[in-house]
Symmetry: C2
Subunit: 154 residues, 2 copies
């Protein structure tokens, strides 16, 4: 029993999805990040655009900072203000955010999202997030298989 519980805890520690959710899985965290990706930086901006309760926002920002996803930067020109900006670790969540957005767009809100992420050089929208092989070819579901790591070739 205790062992089983321990095994479970261990499993959750090993599972990177569970680990990721510890950082960004709480209610509002993702929407705060969406805001940050769209340029929001200040407490009042997040609060008024998301309509989140102030104490919860305060808590979520603190946790995201603790987890190294946002950086808290006091503004030197106005000492009341604090800017919250994405760290590299936070910026690296972009694929998660885009996948989720595209899924929601496809299956729930048929309305296309705004703004759109484009290739700066060509100004063309990015491709849908998809599973691809090592050469960048898109793989359909039928082409995929789960393999135990031990069965991977050298």
């Amino acid at each position: 029993m205790v062992l089983d519980l321990e095994r479970h805890r261990e499993m959750l520690r090993r599972c990177s999805i569970a680990a990721a959710l510890e950082s960004v899985g709480e209610r509002w965290s993702f929407l705060i990040l969406r805001g940050a990706f769209n340029g929001l930086q200040h407490f009042e901006e997040f609060q008024s655009t998301l309509g989140i309760a102030r104490n919860i926002l305060s808590n979520r920002l603190a946790r995201l900072v603790e987890n190294g996803i946002l950086q808290r930067e006091p503004d030197p020109t106005d000492r009341r203000r604090v800017a919250y900006r994405l760290t590299d670790k936070g910026l690296d969540l972009l694929p998660v955010l885009l996948s989720l957005r595209q899924w929601g767009e496809k299956w729930i809100s048929a309305a296309p999202s705004n703004p759109v992420l484009v290739d700066r050089a060509t100004r063309r929208p990015i491709a849908p997030m998809a599973v691809r092989d090592a050469d960048g070819r898109m793989l359909s579901r039928a082409e995929l298989e789960w393999l135990d790591r031990s069965e991977l070739d050298g």
Copy 2:
């Protein structure tokens, strides 16, 4: 004031990330889906491998079914048993799951996850989920820009 609240509600309805999170953003939902992707189908399997409370599991499965992400299929050979399996809508969450897993693997639990998703034909692991242009070329952060939909070419 009421208008502002309404505008906010409207925004959340329009935001596909918020919409997606309504379906899969509750605590445990993602881990249940991870289990489903790894082959779990039965109540007792989810319960014992995740260690989730039975009433919560019951609630989450019902909600995922409501939202068309899982299908509830009574087993004809044993009328006690019920199989929960991913629908197409649910299977389409794979990119989200993989992005999250890769992020967790990179930034939190350095340990590589198991099992691994491979190209069935070559048995080689899939490429990391990344932002790519329409031709499949990977785009770095510096190459990306947010553009208002109205500014898109034709």
